[in-house]
Symmetry: C2
Subunit: 212 residues, 2 copies
């Protein structure tokens, strides 16, 4: 009856892999209609199932959102990874990671929105983002270690430096979205120059100005 999606591998049950399908549907809704249109029912509709179907794969809406958020942080990690040459000098690498973070947020504002809306509700970032070895925060930490900016209290100071960098990147990622700064961007000849300009004022990203 229902042809198994030829790629999805072992089709577990009726649909094939509704969990996966729902996440992809959510991604489509997000790109097409924005974060405010991302309802459970809209996702189910997009996936072609009933409004109650998602409840067999997610406890409630917030759990669906968390899954989307985790996927987002994973995409962010991969983008940061491919944007930072591991053989480049540490400072350049840190700057590249920061720029990649902001560019990701600008390129996928809806996903970025969900990533943090979800985190704010749970009052914690997903493990995928912070704890995981193959996550965005760990990638930043490795680059920071190579940079060697830590002072007396090694462990604590390294963590603080990474948090500071994350704060700066997140803050900037949210600000670039605001129209208040459009005229300044224009005056500087583009958003890229604007980003570099702000980053150069932000401690650990001093070198960002020398990129591109």
């Amino acid at each position: 009856m229902k042809l198994p999606c030829p790629i999805t591998g072992p089709k577990p049950y009726h649909h094939g892999d509704l969990r996966r399908a729902l996440l992809e549907a959510a991604s489509r809704v997000l790109e097409r209609e924005g974060p405010n249109a991302l309802s459970l029912r809209a996702v189910a509709r997009e996936a072609g199932v009933s409004p109650a179907a998602p409840y067999h794969h997610f406890k409630d809406k917030s759990e669906l959102m968390l899954a989307i958020s985790e996927e987002g942080f994973d995409q962010l990690y991969k983008f940061m990874l491919q944007s930072s040459d591991p053989d480049a000098p540490p400072m350049e690498r840190v700057a590249a990671i920061g720029v990649a973070y902001v560019e990701f947020a600008k390129a996928h504002p809806s996903i970025y929105r969900v990533m943090y809306d979800c985190s704010r509700d749970l009052e914690s970032l997903p493990d995928k983002a912070h704890k995981a070895e193959d996550g965005a925060f760990s990638l930043l930490k490795k680059a920071m270690i190579d940079l060697g900016v830590v002072s007396s209290d090694q462990e604590v100071d390294l963590e603080l430096a990474c948090i500071a960098a994350w704060c700066a990147a997140h803050g900037l990622a949210e600000m670039v979205g605001f129209r208040q700064f459009d005229s300044l961007k224009a005056k500087m000849g583009g958003e890229k120059a604007f980003l570099a300009g702000v980053l150069s004022h932000l401690g650990m990203f001093g070198q960002a100005r020398n990129r591109g």
Copy 2:
């Protein structure tokens, strides 16, 4: 019938000043039940009026939210103002403003949430926050001018420095809410030390560590 609130001054119409009452009701709902419970109907209920009553004072829900957001940015401005001694050295003043920003967000997380949820929807900060002479951004800018950190291109570089500071403060304000950093805070002997530690890594707030 309805006794006019003796303080509110000239009672305009039936209720007295429903617009004001709604904003105060919203504030109460926000403190009591958090940002996710802040519905138009809940606010109307709290103010003791029908669900449709607010529509005579606000075009729709988003306009109510904007008004709440503007009030929040105004409170933030006032708190920053009273937290920064105008006679203190500029660097100390900038640091005090940054610390005040983060402390405000931590003390009123629900209001802070609404302030930015609203801004993200409109893709712009309220004029109260950025444009207004008696606003938070202007206060920061004045302190920055006194600091004299601007380089060659005066105007642009000053603006960039202020934006960078705002980004850093906002980023940190959102991060302190995450439980990921609780253990680090404990290890450092409290949140205040944590905040100072992160701020000291963030460019223009280098002096923050020397406070308190």
